[in-house]
């Protein structure tokens, strides 16, 4: 879909081309108005049928300006409803923007915006279900990254609408894990791209010792390494999103790679900004905090790299 990707990227970039961390409610309206929540849903279910590549485009755009909100979790719910089938009514409401959330970690931990959601997705061994939030116990868990609002949910033995069981649930869980990795990786690469651009701009503007910082070769080489690492991670990202056979481990390893590049670039951004990068007045820290949170969500590097190594060993 390379034409479509380019068009979509263009639209997505234009939609969020303003300041960093735009207003959450406004952003959510924009996301639903642009039809992004229905992007990956097959056309016969009322979606646009654009698949994981479209998910990648969207989350790169959201990552680039550090958009707040439950978009990743919402897409997981939508994908689960779509894959399960027979849930057209719930699916339609979710695509229209009614917030339904899901864990970005294990169990019912790290559920974004659970307090604003009507439902949460429950993924257990052998069963995937959608629970109405009403009556569930929510615990807000403030993160260093203030662009995310995470909750732990205690659902007791609530069952709700069962979407898949047994082997079907296992397959769906794998699919959801892969999708989550795509979304998180997209967020990482969008953010990394923005942090890198911010850094080169800064180096070109800021002068020390009577010349722009951008003239210091030691700094230029570090920026070049950042750029090269990012370009390779981006290429891997698009190759994976186009690969329909890529499963949870493949996507998890890709996400771990993207998250490590994001962190590298966010760290270098702070170091190259010097003192100002250590203050709340400058946006550097927003990228670093989102980078480290993204790295921990959806399985960390240790988990996915080990799984990928085991798979490569048995290839």
């Amino acid at each position: 879909m390379s034409m479509t990707r380019a068009e979509l990227q263009d639209a997505a970039t234009k939609a969020f081309d303003g300041d960093l961390t735009p207003d959450a409610a406004h952003s959510w309206n924009l996301i639903t108005d642009m039809g992004w929540l229905m992007m990956a849903v097959p056309e016969d279910q009322g979606g646009l049928g654009l698949g994981r590549e479209a998910v990648g485009v969207i989350h790169q755009a959201l990552g680039r300006t550090l958009v707040a909100g439950p978009a990743i979790a919402q897409m997981l719910v939508i994908d689960a409803l779509s894959a399960a089938g027979g849930q057209d009514e719930l699916l339609g409401r979710a695509m229209a923007g009614e917030i339904m959330s899901a864990s970005l970690a294990e169990g019912l931990r790290a559920v974004p915006d659970a307090d604003r959601a009507s439902h949460v997705l429950r993924v257990e061994a052998g069963r995937i279900s959608l629970l109405p939030v009403e009556g569930l116990a929510l615990t807000a868990r403030a993160t260093w990254d203030k662009t995310r609002r995470l909750f732990d949910v205690d659902a007791g033995d609530a069952v709700g609408v069962v979407l898949a069981q047994g082997d079907a649930a296992t397959a769906l869980a794998d699919r959801l894990s892969a999708l989550r990795s795509v979304a998180l990786a997209g967020d990482c690469l969008g953010g990394a791209d923005a942090a890198l651009a911010m850094t080169t701009d800064y180096l070109e503007t800021r002068r020390q010792f009577d010349r722009p910082l951008a003239l210091f070769q030691a700094l230029k080489h570090r920026v070049a390494d950042m750029k090269a690492a990012l370009a390779a991670a981006q290429a891997l990202f698009w190759a994976r999103t186009e690969d329909s056979a890529a499963d949870a481990v493949t996507m998890g390893a890709m996400k771990a790679h993207a998250a490590s590049i994001y962190r590298l670039i966010a760290e270098e951004a702070i170091q190259l900004h010097g003192g100002i990068g250590l203050t709340m007045e400058h946006p550097c820290h927003l990228f670093l905090k989102r980078a480290t949170l993204n790295a921990a969500l959806g399985g960390d590097g240790d988990q996915w790299e080990e799984a990928a190594g085991r798979r490569a060993l048995n290839a």
Partner: protein
């Protein structure tokens, strides 16, 4: 180790057993509690005679050799006492600059008040002059005082990264009195009473939630000429005294504290069920070696200094070794602690670099790779001053009419 040093060590250890504050980390959860702890612990140390061992012997509490100072610092670290953050600039930077450049009258006026708890901060860095101090632009113009008395300097400008500036009483201020000639020659060094009209100090909000630094705005602030250190135009030379006033002991202490905090990572590994993970064990073992190497190189540096064999650039090696190792230390904690570290937890004010609040510690570790001469500046110094590689001439110019 000599008998005298051994007995000093025992003496300090015995004293600390009685006087060192206990459980201070748990109490240090607010800025107010932190300030209170800093002040009371400093007062206690002054009374004990251990607050300013590096001062000349004609001042109370002074006259200790570097070897003796090292023993005292080691014992303070071993007892995990609070670091003296609030009074640090006063007892080191302000005092040593006054000892070297202050008149008898200036010394008699300021030094005793330091022991009474007067807090100094440093006003060197500016928004446009971080690593490149000579580029600073805060202006001072001399004119007669309208309120009588001698001449005053009228100062306008902004200072940044003033450690604890919002709590300070006095400021070591570097200003520009001339734009003629080489940039360094136009600087003058003043002592500023921060209660003077026109001074505004505002804390800088750091990314991990601390407010260790301040920015200071100077709006037509009058400073009596009597409060100048050295001559007008001699500021650069005076500032070198300030900048070199503390070399070696702090990094020795910080390295020792980092080694003392390795158990935090051990606990974390156990708590996360990673005790049999060969990769994690290796990373931990490799980190422990680097921490030990950092302690060793800090120790070596101080030994060389005591022996009078310090070379220019040696201090940069110690700083770079410490800053990189601290980054790795906090990174490993951040990694093993996983999602837990991402949940916000209140910081321990003045708790040091390794508090076990891993994301906060990780972010705080940047202060060491950036502040006090960034890693990049240290690398320049090592390459040029220690290894003798050529400096890029500061006044390279592009030939006229060339590409």
């Amino acid at each position: 180790m000599s008998d005298a040093l051994d007995s000093l060590r025992q003496e300090v250890r015995d004293w600390l057993a009685v006087h060192a504050p206990k459980d201070w980390r748990a109490r240090s959860t607010s800025e107010a509690a932190f300030l209170e702890l800093q002040r009371s612990w400093f007062t206690t140390l002054v009374k004990g005679g251990y607050a300013v061992p590096h001062w000349p012997e004609n001042w109370p509490g002074g006259g200790r050799s570097l070897a003796e100072q090292k023993v005292i610092y080691e014992e303070l670290a071993r007892a995990d006492t609070p670091r003296l953050l609030l009074s640090f600039m006063s007892t080191y930077h302000a005092a040593s600059t006054l000892f070297e450049w202050g008149s008898e009258e200036q010394q008699q006026r300021y030094i005793p008040r330091i022991l009474e708890g007067e807090i100094w901060c440093q006003g060197f860095s500016e928004p446009g002059a971080g690593s490149d101090l000579a580029a600073l632009r805060t202006r001072a113009e001399r004119r007669p005082s309208f309120s009588g008395g001698g001449d005053v300097y009228v100062v306008n400008g902004q200072k940044l990264w003033s450690t604890m500036g919002q709590f300070a009483d006095q400021c070591l201020l570097l200003v520009r009195t001339s734009s003629e000639g080489v940039k360094q020659a136009g600087l003058t060094y003043l002592l500023l009473d921060l209660k003077s009209p026109g001074v505004t100090a505002r804390p800088i909000h750091q990314i991990h939630g601390d407010e260790e630094f301040a920015e200071i705005f100077l709006d037509n602030v009058e400073i009596p000429v009597a409060n100048r250190l050295g001559e007008e135009g001699q500021g650069w030379a005076v500032a070198q005294s300030t900048l070199s006033s503390e070399r070696g002991l702090t990094l020795l202490e910080l390295s020792a504290r980092m080694r003392g905090a390795l158990w935090r990572i051990g606990d974390l590994i156990r708590a996360n069920g990673r005790s049999e993970d060969a990769g994690v064990l290796r990373d931990f073992g490799r980190l422990a070696s680097k921490v030990d190497a950092t302690c060793a190189v800090a120790d070596q540096f101080l030994a060389n200094r005591i022996a009078g064999e310090e070379r220019v650039g040696d201090a940069s090696i110690v700083k770079l070794a410490y800053s990189r190792t601290l980054r790795e230390f906090t990174s490993l904690g951040l990694r093993i602690s996983g999602l837990d570290a991402q949940y916000h937890a209140p910081i321990t004010f003045g708790g040091g670099m390794e508090t076990g609040n891993w994301m906060a510690d990780f972010m705080n570790s940047y202060a060491w790779t950036i502040a006090g001469g960034s890693d990049e500046v240290q690398r320049n110094i090592i390459a040029e001053r220690l290894l003798g590689m050529p400096r890029e001439p500061k006044n390279w110019v592009v030939k006229e009419g060339a590409a």
